[in-house]
Chain length 338, copies 2
Amino acid sequence: MIIDCHGHYTTAPPQHDAWRKSQLAAFREGSLPPGYPAISDDEIRESIEQNQLRLLRERGADMTIFSPRASAMAHHEGDERVSIEWPRACNDLIARVVGLFPETFIGVCQLPQSPGAELKASVAELERCVQMGFVGCNLNPDPSGGRWTSPPLTDRYWYPVFEKMTELDVPAMVHVSASCNPVFHATGAHYINADTTAFMQLIQGDLFADFPGLRLVIPHGGGAVPYHWGRYRGLADMLHKPPLSEHVMNNVFFDTCVYHQPGIDLLFRVIDAGNVLFGSEMVGAVRGIDPETGHYFDDTKRYVDAAGLTDADRARVYSGNARRVYPRLDRALRAQGR
Amino acid sequence: MIIDCHGHYTTAPPQHDAWRKSQLAAFREGSLPPGYPAISDDEIRESIEQNQLRLLRERGADMTIFSPRASAMAHHEGDERVSIEWPRACNDLIARVVGLFPETFIGVCQLPQSPGAELKASVAELERCVQMGFVGCNLNPDPSGGRWTSPPLTDRYWYPVFEKMTELDVPAMVHVSASCNPVFHATGAHYINADTTAFMQLIQGDLFADFPGLRLVIPHGGGAVPYHWGRYRGLADMLHKPPLSEHVMNNVFFDTCVYHQPGIDLLFRVIDAGNVLFGSEMVGAVRGIDPETGHYFDDTKRYVDAAGLTDADRARVYSGNARRVYPRLDRALRAQGR
């Protein structure tokens, strides 16, 4: 079984994004947003069948852990009220996708974060979504969108979400959204920087002493971390922390959203296969075909298949780790007899 | 011959840093800084012989392209006047090191950047330093120290420095300094993020159409870039840019400050050896001994030696590329009969 841990609903019907535009326009004008538009099951079905589902089948994966479009979370837009309405609309749409394709998609929710706001609304939305069958959340370490005004992830500011995650036994993918800072290209700099930044914060702090069961997935192959694994091992040592395997790697996982064979090979050379979850971020950041291979850049299954893993490790990367990191996914699969 | 392109004077005599402290204290009090302290040649000699020179000899390299301590540039401290005095003191000290060890060190200067300030002072300091025999500069893409308030490197804001670099035929290493933003650990996040960010800016823009001869060294092995080389090739394609080999890699170079063998192997697997300059950042970011190898993390020569390069490529990485990217270094070496 092959589970893609990192898929966003980047192909939602146009009414959804149009409503977001109206919502932000209403906010700017100081008026109320219009009601959320009607979207039919057929429209949702079509948006999935022609995109994610088609590609899953073509590439030979079985299911996707599915969340709202990351770049559209844009927690920096509007105010806290705006940032409460929008995730609710996005998450409800994910729930409908999961309802239509219960064997292929399972939900991960976007949180109603807002720069400077406390995390009460995020805790409530996480609880609401898990009650709807979601198995995790996306946590944005920089809701300011490239201004980086929030404290590090190890700060107590974040603890309400970590407490609720622990209580519900769900992990978070640490995932930023769009960048409103012109120095940071979203998918080319901000995403990768955030992954690197989050990992270093976890080295500096001692978060997992307070939350020994907390699980965080750092996407995009862990940002720069595996490439600079020696640097991080050395910095942990300089900071008088235990080895990374004890200090963070019981709780931190990387996906395989690295879009070439040498990168995937490096990932598995330095990171234990027990810490890697198959992911493609499809349909996502990089949509083209690699002229060097003739295949889609984000068809990461090809790279994993060619990475020379043992059968046991490949099985862990393709599904075993995901079922362990997302126990509610495992339960849902068992209920389906899978 | 082995040239380390990336060394900082992290071991300067204590009077130097003490003066910096007085300078910043005077700035806060609105008074004038004290005069720069006396530092004897012997003190400088000792600070070098016991550190950089000893390690160069132990590790078997011949010389270092040497610049002031990067984390102490701290362009975000004080105001523009403060940020003009400090680089002058730092660069003068580098000139003294080079004067004492002319066969082992050659200078690269720190620029008097200041957040929001125009680059006139940087142009003047670059000119002054090149007249003293310096062969390049360190350009900080984020003088705000982790607030990222400057425009991208492709913005015309930066052109005065690029014009002067072109006129003088000197390259810049794109190197940030300390982070005053608690989310970013300096050497574990801010440095690596800046490398990644700068490279993506260069993909997005078209800087080398305006400056075809400009040369930029992106340190720390290019940040996350080689690990995510497929992502960057794909993003260039999505942005309708030429292949990276044409669009940026005639002008961009990476060093080998990657502190483990798998990282260095990846670097050479994806980046042409003509674009890689040997560097260690020694004595620098990561000072310990790797328990897995028994050798210093930053003894990058070991990794390069073991990377399986051809003799010709290894010669390019160890010295040929540096002499090409820093033509004034080449001239200085020729004058020494090397």
